[in-house]
Amino acid sequence: MEIRQSKQPNFFLKKRVRLSIMIGLLGVLYVGAAVILNFNSAAFLYLDRGMIWLFQNFIPTSQSITYWYSITQALLRTFVVAVAATSVAGVLALVLAILGAKSTGPSRTLSWVIRGFASIMRNIPIVGWAMLLLFSFKQNDFTGFLALLFLSVGFLTRAFMETIEDVDVEKIQALQVTGASYLQVISQAVLPEITTPLISWLLYMIENNIRDATLVGLLTGTGIGFVFDLYFKSLRYGPAGLVVLAIIILVIAVELVSNYVERRIAA
């Protein structure tokens, strides 16, 4: 049987060349980035060191265990501040998202304004927020609260807006044609449709904010981040290790709870 001439005789060659160019490019970028940073790739040979450090300091000694109570107090404080910041941000973000989403917002202009606002809020680095707020509100929990709040508002507004825009427009119109008012449509059609993703975004944000709170604390001298910094800088690694352990326990507990909640609310 005669084989018809294929139209792409170099198909495999082209594919291989494309792939090689891609890999080569990534390699060049890797080397370039490593040079810029003065990063030594051999550092990965020392991966075990950090792990050993961690596990050594996880084991409480009779000396470090005396810090456990004050560590858990500071962590609990950080936790509730993170929850409060996320919740307040959630309420603000919901209002902004309803006004800003294409399907529920009053005007296109407002939609773009809110979109831009959310984008700027979440793209200003948390360091920027923390330092800016520290300057005005000084060293206290309120500064950390506001920093997390601002970042979360930006992030959640964006997420909620996308969630609302995923709701089938016809479902909204179906209620509109019955003569329902704007607020009625929002509360009876939009909100019930988005509750599940809304809650899972909130829980995700809380998890994230506990971790970010550590960073904010380091920068603004508050909460668990400050406690870690204090022990770490004074070379008290035992208690510093305990701080890490306490954070791990809290974050994993929150993750388990939020997985449980998500399973229960998934329709």
Partner: protein, 251 residues
């Protein structure tokens, strides 16, 4: 030559799927397995290459009991058995020729397989097979852009690339339109006639079975209720395969 003796399978949860199934299939013949849904057709076919592990019995292929092979031997035997599926199971993000070349992977070294290093002969063979199933113009098209009938023909070409002695076809035409059905069945018939291959097909269309198969096996509720040459099978025989439809035992 394939010989199955007293094959049985019970699923977890106690649902009995196959009971003492025995049959013989020959090279150069198309054997159709027909029967109502849930009769155990798919379980039977997938037991042959041990995609589904059965409980007891004997599957003699090339004189070896497939059920007794170790991992390495099973892999080798499986590479000699082609299989096509109702839902094609192609990699849709690759082109036709790449999917067809997958049929040669079992013969290649791991490294050559990972890096897609196919020889010129292999590429040539793949193109020829693609031409044989009538898809020469689609050799370098992505499979996601093909129609159902075209995808099934890519599936056939892929299994032919394995150089199989036997083809297992699991409801190959269930999702196809009449024109594609004819095309696919004719290709399978030709493989039996010209390449002397052993073809086993699960079907639920009786008319297709009568038209293309040499041999019909009726399966109902996990038991063989008919086994005979197509030429000798009367309409009454065929009807009985379905009439004896007893409720499927559950639990």
């Amino acid at each position: 030559m394939l010989e199955i003796n007293k094959l049985s399978k019970t699923y977890d949860g106690g649902k009995r799927s196959l009971t003492d199934v025995s049959l013989t299939a020959k090279e150069g013949e198309v054997t159709a397995i027909i029967g109502p849904s849930g009769a155990g057709k798919t379980t039977l076919l997938r037991s042959i290459n041990q995609l589904i592990v059965d409980d007891s019995g004997e599957i003699l292929f090339d004189g070896q009991d497939i059920r007794k092979l170790n991992h390495r031997q099973l892999k080798k035997t499986r590479s000699k058995i082609g299989m096509i599926f109702q839902n094609y199971n192609l990699i849709e993000s690759l082109t036709t020729i790449e999917n067809v070349l997958h049929g040669s992977l079992a013969r290649k070294s791991t490294l050559a397989g990972v890096l897609s290093l196919y020889s010129k002969d292999e590429k040539q063979e793949a193109l020829q097979l693609i031409d044989e199933v009538g898809l020469a113009d689609f050799a370098f098209k992505y499979c996601s852009d093909l129609s159902g009938g075209q995808k099934q023909r890519v599936g056939i070409a892929r299994s032919l690339m394995q150089h199989p002695k036997m083809m297992l076809c699991d409801e190959p035409i269930a999702s196809l339109d009449p024109r594609s059905t004819t095309m696919v069945m004719e290709i399978l018939r030709r493989l039996a006639d010209e390449k002397h291959m052993m073809i086993l097909i699960n079907l639920h269309q009786v008319d297709i079975a009568k038209e293309y198969a040499d041999h019909i096996i009726g399966l109902n509720n996990g038991r063989i209720v008919f086994d005979g040459a197509t030429a000798t099978a009367t309409d009454r025989d065929i009807e009985n395969i379905y009439v004896s439809d007893a409720p499927v035992a559950v639990g």
